[in-house]
Amino acid sequence: MTIRALPSYALLAVGSIVVAFPLLLALSYSFMSESQIATFPPPLIPATPSFDNYAGVLDTIPIGRYLLNSFVVSTAVVIGQLITASLAAYAFSFLVFRGRQLLFFVFLSTLMIPWEATIIPNYITIRSIGWLDTYQGLAVPFMATAFGTFLLRQAFLQIPHELWDSARIDGASSLRFFFSMVLPLSRPILGTVAIYGFLSTYNQYFWPLLITNQTLMRTTQVGIAQLRFEETLRFGLVMAGVIMVAVPTLALLVLGQRQLVRGLTAGAVKG
């Protein structure tokens, strides 16, 4: 590190702290007593850090159950998306059939349709088949992904076609080639699709708000929002809830940053 780099580091440090400030503040307030939060000027650091707010969250809402619900639903969506998208991407990259182009456009066209524009009929459907307050109601509508299919297809197209040719000469069926060659070779991009599916499902709010009424079927995001609508708004409690809910996604960000970046930039840079 040279002296010349110091201004750069100073700017980077300031920028990082400003951007991460709301999150750091939430962490700090989650250890603060309500009486300290009420002092002026607004405090930054807990005077006597305690886990009281976390205990308070556990007493107020069934946060463990919410976390379980969110993990079950998000994992189910990830598994569903990996299966549906990899099968579809395989057809769009290795199989030759008439109408392939047209069907690919059908897939891409779903990217233009905002979920909110179809949410009313979807709600009516889910209610009429008795899927309100169920895991399948929360998960099944999101188990197909055009974006994931698109990402996987791009990756599958990078796999040398000679592999497919020689597999066929060896008498391998197309399904066997898919499982023994294509999927193992595409692990990184499958990781991208998985992380995306998990994050976007775990962070959902509108849909779970609509289709869950029983307390025990709520997911994390809708669950912590209840803390905001308690009779008295206790910010220490809310921030403890916020941290408990955000930790899994932040851990995923740290572990899977490379995968996330790959997904985000696929649309923007490569076109």
């Binding site: 980077l12 503040l25 299966i83 579809a88 059939f97 069907l103």
Partner: protein, 295 residues
């Protein structure tokens, strides 16, 4: 180009692989889409069951409704406050992050951290920051001699408060996309510009901004679509209020469908949302196509 038995067999195999996705898309995207459009021409009971044909009534009512016009205006303001500022901020931070320094990845992770943060979590944290008596925002403003408003109580500031929250939430995505764009700019271009005497701000406006314009345009479209779909932060911060100041299109759909149970009227608004998003996406597809053509 006759169709023969081999074509049918190949199509059958292809469809077998596509079937899981196609069935789900049909059930949860295409059929509901048609139902949304269909519902928008009908009146319904509170259960959602269709009663009478309404023709274009819902659309005509929307055209003349002051509440709907206020909502569209709120949506436009929301986009105007959120998208340009969010992208500009993202670009400045991405330029800062686009340096070859030891430990740069720590800063990159910190600055892009909001990508993992849900709208609900973000909104609840900003509820604290924006609080007139307990929040830090007004305290910081008071340090520079500005009397901070009651953000969520006044119509003019409520939409700004929701926009600030949204800018923060989208910052992570903007930074990652723009950083990738910046890393795609060949070093020789900067060197050539430097030889020509370009420095600092001039380098930024003449070289950096044009070179990342594809990423900027991508974000302009994607962020605008995201703003059109934003629901959570409004539900948690303002519930559409005060006096409908933040009752944006999606929130209006939510209230008319799930609180007033006017599914037909809400569906007409859903169709308008659909048209807006489709138009934006098509613009983006066309642009990308043209850019690829030029390269």
């Amino acid at each position: 180009m006759r169709w023969n038995a081999r074509d049918s067999r190949q199509l059958g195999i292809g469809l077998a692989y596509l079937a899981p996705s196609l069935i789900l898309f049909a059930a949860f995207v295409f059929v509901p889409l048609a139902q949304s459009i269909y519902l928008s021409f009908f009146n319904t009971r509170a259960t959602g069951a269709i009663t009478t044909f309404a023709g274009l009534d819902h659309y005509l009512e929307l055209l003349t409704s002051p509440a709907f016009r206020t909502g569209l205006l709120a949506t436009a303001l929301f986009a105007l406050y959120t998208v340009p500022l969010g992208i500009a901020l993202g670009l400045v931070l991405a330029v800062l992050l686009n340096q070859r320094l030891r430990g740069i990845n720590v800063f990159r992770t910190m600055m892009s951290s909001t990508i993992a943060i849900s709208a609900a979590v973000g909104a609840l944290i900003w509820l604290l920051l924006l609080n007139p008596s307990l929040g830090l925002l007004n305290y910081i403003l008071s340090l520079v001699g500005v009397r901070g408003p009651e953000w969520l109580i006044q119509p003019a500031t409520a939409i700004i408060a929701v926009s600030l929250t949204t800018i923060w939430l989208t910052l992570g995505t903007n930074i990652i996309v723009l950083l990738a764009g910046l890393q795609g700019v060949p070093e020789e271009i900067y060197e050539a510009a430097r030889l020509d005497g370009a420095r600092g701000l001039r380098m930024f406006t003449r070289i950096t901004v044009p070179m990342v314009s594809p990423s900027l345009f991508f974000l302009l479209v994607v962020d605008t679509i995201a703003v059109l779909q934003a629901f959570t932060q409004i539900h948690l911060l303002t519930r559409g209020g005060p006096v409908d100041a933040t009752r944006v299109l999606v929130y209006s759909i939510y209230q008319d469908a799930f609180q007033n149970f006017q599914f037909g009227y809400a569906s007409a608004q859903a169709v308008i949302l659909l048209v807006l998003v489709m138009a934006l996406t098509l613009i983006q597809f066309r642009f990308v196509e043209r850019r690829v053509h030029y390269q």
